[in-house]
């Protein structure tokens, strides 16, 4: 039983959290990598785009909850997700029209666009909090109406667990419990579907192919009659869908706070760069690499090794490589190593 206990403990604290976090990062990194590939700049506003998408979805969720609409064991947020995506798409297309198009027409250098996106990030960050706190007044359930945009916002409903730790222990008779939250499963399934649809779209449809052509060589693509504004528009639509989905899944699985999405920017960029900027497959791989590195490096292996070690050899220390305070340092370190030794990333994306 001891190896089984070790396996369960490892799954409970490393494998499952790492997988759901990885899927969320992968979705975020896909958005970043698409913008980099097609619009040719690093979009710093991506974290706040995710936050905006989540807020839009939260408001629709509250609206539906107010109408008494529920999805049974599934969170109502899934029902609200398409509406959230649509709202975010409108915002992104508007931002493109008002801000980015101006610089694109002037053929501004990528670094200028990066700085512009930092400006957009600050505006969006404020917008997120305004929309959330104003929307909450009208739509939020009892007790959450006066959220100030900096508090935790709770919008998850439906079943919380597929199996919780106590049930698992009773069922298997093991000492270690394994908890699988409903949101974790939803994250993995939804991320799988989103990635599948995206790859099908990029590889099989005419629009997807024209996007890839535009990304590979802008001039050749223009010569062969591809309409650049259309490619840009489709890109923003896809980014809106990816960012909103990533944000909502992260918010459902963990918790929503307007500021935390800004902090996600670093691991998301690390994931996109590790995978290779501009490479969608790389973004997915990068997301899981970063997530599992963060979780394994900061996990204390004392318990797992305690089960595996022969009698008397159990470790006294925590067997923790790095304290959890330094979680973000892990993505930083990986980022630097990759940039030094393999700047094109795992999947031969663009060099930064």
């Amino acid at each position: 039983m001891e190896p089984l206990n070790a396996l369960v403990a490892f799954s409970n604290y490393v494998l499952i959290p790492g997988a759901s976090y990885g899927a969320q990062l992968a979705l975020g990194a896909l958005g970043v990598t698409l913008i980099y590939g097609i619009l040719r700049f690093s979009n710093f506003a991506h974290g706040d785009t995710m936050a905006f998408g989540t807020v839009a979805t939260i408001l629709f969720t509250w609206l539906f909850q107010g109408w008494g609409l529920h999805l049974g064991p599934l969170p109502t947020a899934l029902l609200a997700l398409p509406f959230g995506i649509a709202t975010t798409a409108v915002l992104l297309l508007g931002t493109d029209r008002v801000v980015y198009r101006f610089y694109r027409r002037r053929k501004a250098a990528p670094v200028i666009l990066v700085i512009v996106s930092v400006g957009v990030m600050f505006v969006m960050n404020g917008l997120v909090r305004v929309v959330l706190s104003v929307g909450a007044v009208f739509l939020a359930p009892e007790g959450q109406q006066d959220t100030r945009g900096t508090d935790d916002v709770n919008f998850a409903d439906g079943a919380r667990f597929i199996i919780n730790a106590r049930q698992f222990k009773d069922m298997t008779g093991l000492d270690e419990g394994l908890a699988i939250r409903a949101t974790t499963a939803i994250t993995l399934v939804a991320a799988g579907i989103a990635v599948g649809v995206l790859f099908w779209f990029l590889n099989r449809t005419r629009t997807g192919k024209s996007m890839r052509a535009f990304s590979d060589n802008e001039d050749l693509a223009l010569l062969s009659g591809i309409n650049p504004e259309r490619v840009v528009m489709v890109t923003w639509l896809i980014v809106a869908a990816l960012a909103t989905t990533a944000g909502v899944l992260y918010g459902l699985d963990k918790s929503f706070r307007a500021f935390t999405y800004f902090q996600l920017l670093l691991p998301i960029f690390a994931a996109a760069i590790v995978g290779g900027l501009g490479s969608p497959l790389g973004a997915v791989a990068g997301g899981f690499v970063i997530a599992f590195s963060e979780v394994t490096v900061t996990y204390a292996f004392k318990k797992v090794l305690g089960y595996l070690a022969p009698g008397g050899w159990e470790p006294d220390g925590l067997v923790q490589l790095m304290s959890t305070d330094y979680k973000f340092a892990v993505s930083f370190a990986i980022l630097i190593v990759v940039l030094l030794f393999r700047p094109t990333g795992l999947f031969r994306g663009k060099s930064v």
Binding site: P17, D152, S255, R257, K303, V304, L318
Partner: protein
């Protein structure tokens, strides 16, 4: 002959003057700055005690006491030091009631009170660092040091026979100080802290932190954090992963929002929050209401007690000289002696000036320990059926 008469008359006046003097007490609080909303209540608390003594009119042969206010700003040590300097050199105060925030209190103590030999009683500075500040016996406080809570928590766990705990704290001075004081007290009592890990507030996900805590193991998880911040996130993540069932919560973790968010999964969790069931507190709140301010506001009772203690110490020493009455503060505050509640200052002065002893209880059940700081009283609670239930006071 005339001159002699005159001289003796002057001497007589002067000597009675030594008995019935005009005693000035400096009230230095942060009337501007981050505490400006609660300092007026604290000032009123202190001045209520002064008024009570004046109404009795018996202190040191009928001396009158006058308060002189000054602004500590709470955060600007330079401004606070200058204000305290002014109180002593130009207003000639006999003692200082204040300051409020720990930082400025330390600055005034080191730069002004100790060099000038002036007694200082703070109602609200709770930093453990002030416990071993160089004070020549001049500094007291009527609020407990933050370290005190760690000791009380350790005792509580020992009484419940929980010998092995995991510990997580919010990564700031409050969390770190509390965690350190708890850990040293708990280990001294024979317990084991399997891990002491910091958590950052304002994050969405605490599963990595909980993973490390769970791996280290322990009977319970002590969460020295904030209820509306990372503390709640850690508890939620620990329950989700099935890492811990029972949590031990210091004062920062007490709040209805925790029950609202988690509910009956918290059953069995226990903790502390400052609070007493002393009759004095009730009396004080009524007196405050009559005097026209809110006695439930933070640290008003402590302020009343701080002012009352210094005046009673003067009565006990028979002098308003700080260097004389500083030795009497502890005697007045603690047993043995007649118990003194708020509103009984006149009685206390009478007992002290006739050579008796008092045990000042006051609004906050004052008991001074160690280097002259309040032992504090805490309300112990446990979560039962998804609600806080008071178990007792300690």
């Amino acid at each position: 002959m005339k001159k002699l008469l005159l001289a003796s008359a002057i001497a007589a006046v002067a000597s009675t003057g030594a008995f019935a003097e005009d005693i000035k007490i400096g009230v230095i609080l942060g009337f501007t700055g981050p505490l400006e909303t609660i300092t007026p209540g604290m000032r009123d608390g202190a001045e209520l005690a002064i008024k009570e003594v004046n109404d009795a009119g018996t202190l040191l042969g009928g001396s009158t006491v006058e308060s002189v206010r000054a602004d500590s700003t709470c955060i600007d040590s330079g401004a606070a030091t200058a204000a305290a300097e002014r109180l002593i050199t130009s207003d000639k105060v006999a003692a200082i009631m204040g300051a409020d925030c720990s930082g400025v209190t330390g600055a005034i103590l080191a730069n002004v009170a100790v060099p000038n030999g002036i007694v200082m009683i703070s109602p609200s500075a709770t930093s453990p660092g002030l416990s071993d500040a160089e004070d020549n016996g001049l500094f007291f406080r009527t609020s407990p040091s933050d370290a005190r809570q760690g000791v009380v928590l350790a005792n509580m766990l020992m009484e419940r026979d929980m010998k092995s705990v995991a510990l997580t704290y919010t990564n700031n001075d409050y969390g770190k100080g509390l965690a350190d004081s708890f850990q040293s007290a708990f280990e001294e009592a024979g317990g084991t802290v399997t891990i002491s890990a910091a958590h950052e507030d304002g994050k969405a996900d605490y599963s990595a932190e909980v993973g490390a805590l769970a791996s280290a193991g322990g009977d319970v998880l002590v969460v020295a954090g904030y209820v509306d911040q990372g503390g709640k996130g850690v508890i939620q993540a620990a329950l989700d992963a099935g890492a811990f069932d029972t949590f031990v919560l210091p004062d920062g973790m007490y709040g209805d929002s925790l029950i609202e968010a988690i509910g009956s999964d918290l059953n069995g969790t226990f903790g502390l929050v400052p609070g007493s069931d002393s009759a004095g507190g009730e009396t004080f709140r009524e007196m405050a209401k009559e005097a026209g301010f809110d006695g439930t506001s933070s640290y008003t009772g402590e302020s009343y007690d701080a002012a009352a203690l210094m005046l009673l110490a003067m009565a006990a020493a028979g002098s308003s000289d700080s260097n004389v009455f500083k030795d009497k503060v502890m005697d007045v505050a603690n047993a043995p002696g007649e118990k003194i509640n708020p509103g009984e200052l006149a009685k206390a002065i009478e007992i002290l000036q006739s050579g008796g002893e008092v045990d000042y209880v006051g609004a906050t059940a004052v008991e001074l320990i160690g280097p002259g700081e309040s032992a504090g009283t805490f309300r112990e609670y446990e979560v039962k059926d998804g609600d806080f239930a008071t178990i007792g006071f300690r």
